[in-house]
């Protein structure tokens, strides 16, 4: 395994780890750091790792919104933004990604944790 990491996160160390048989860059907590290394297969593996065994259409809708929004905005959407702009009910997000929906969504979508307060 060689170091080819070009991280955008200057505050923490990036590590390479293996997800779904692929080497990907993650930060010290395990959130992926390279947008283009993410794939549907990786997403399924990440979801399984945090106890979400099956990704339904509703899961995918949230994940796809998060990915597209990040590509446009350069930062991970907060729950409120997923609700307001993505049109997914907050209640539903808590059902899909129990307890810590914003962080869990970001994790499986291969994005950094959201930084917004609301």
């Amino acid at each position: 395994m060689t170091s080819t990491t070009n991280t955008t996160n200057t505050t923490s160390t990036t590590t390479t780890t293996s997800i779904a048989g692929l080497d990907v860059c993650v930060d010290h907590e395990g959130f992926m750091t390279v947008y283009d290394e993410w794939s549907d297969e990786i997403c399924v593996a990440l979801a399984a790792a945090i106890g979400i065994g099956e990704l339904t259409d509703d899961h995918w809708a949230a994940i796809r919104f998060l990915r597209a929004d990040f590509a446009e905005q350069g930062e991970t959407a907060t729950l409120r933004r997923v609700n307001r702009v993505g049109g997914i009910a907050t209640k539903r997000l808590f059902q899909l990604f129990p307890k810590k929906p914003a962080k869990k969504m970001a994790y499986v979508a291969g994005l950094p944790k959201p930084h917004g307060c609301v």
């Binding site: 048989g21 945090i50 810590k100």
Partner: protein, 179 residues
């Protein structure tokens, strides 16, 4: 520069990643209770923002509204909280200015715009967001009696009117934050 670590577990493909966030799913349940006792716009937001953050972290949240905090959940007033520079030296404005007629309306308008610019909702919508996220809202019995209100006067998301003993029971082992 970045450092690449090769660990033994990283070679174990098709299993959980070697480095994973701790989502705290196995942690004991944590409960936070916010006592909202103020009815000004600037004092309404801190508890709501913190409560929202707590809910997003999987924490059980209760909000207990008392005294002037009742304005936050009373239908008639909840959409019309105000901000004044009077008695608030942190605005760094001459205090005399606060007494000028219309100044509170101007200050309120300015603060509402600043909050809206951050895409943070107004109080009624924020309370709906909190309820949708699983928060429990309670009204103070003594305040309701004092202000001659009843449940119908209150925001629909308020679960019940409870007394201090009820609050002590539900906040048992909780972290309590008084605002």
């Amino acid at each position: 520069m970045t450092v690449t670590e090769t660990t033994a577990t990283a070679t174990a493909t098709e299993t959980a990643p070697a480095v994973m966030p701790d989502f705290g799913d196995d942690d004991a349940d944590r409960t936070m209770c916010f006592i909202c006792s103020k009815g000004t716009l600037d004092m309404a937001y801190p508890a709501l923002v913190m409560a929202n953050g707590a809910l997003g972290e999987g924490i059980d949240v209760h909000l207990f509204f008392t005294f002037w905090g009742m304005d936050m959940i009373t239908k008639k007033t909840m959409g019309d909280l105000k901000f004044t520079i009077l008695g608030n030296p942190a605005t760094h404005m001459p205090q005399g200015l606060g007494g000028v007629p219309g100044m509170t309306a101007v200050a309120t308008k300015m603060m509402k715009k600043q909050i809206a610019d951050l895409d943070v909702p107004e109080i009624p919508e924020f309370l709906e967001l909190l309820v949708d996220s699983g928060a429990h809202l309670w009204a103070c019995r003594m305040s309701v009696d004092m202000m001659k209100l009843d449940q119908d006067d209150l925001f629909d998301g308020v679960e019940d009117i409870i007394n201090v003993t009820d609050f002590m029971e539900l906040s048992d082992d909780a972290q309590i934050i008084f605002v």
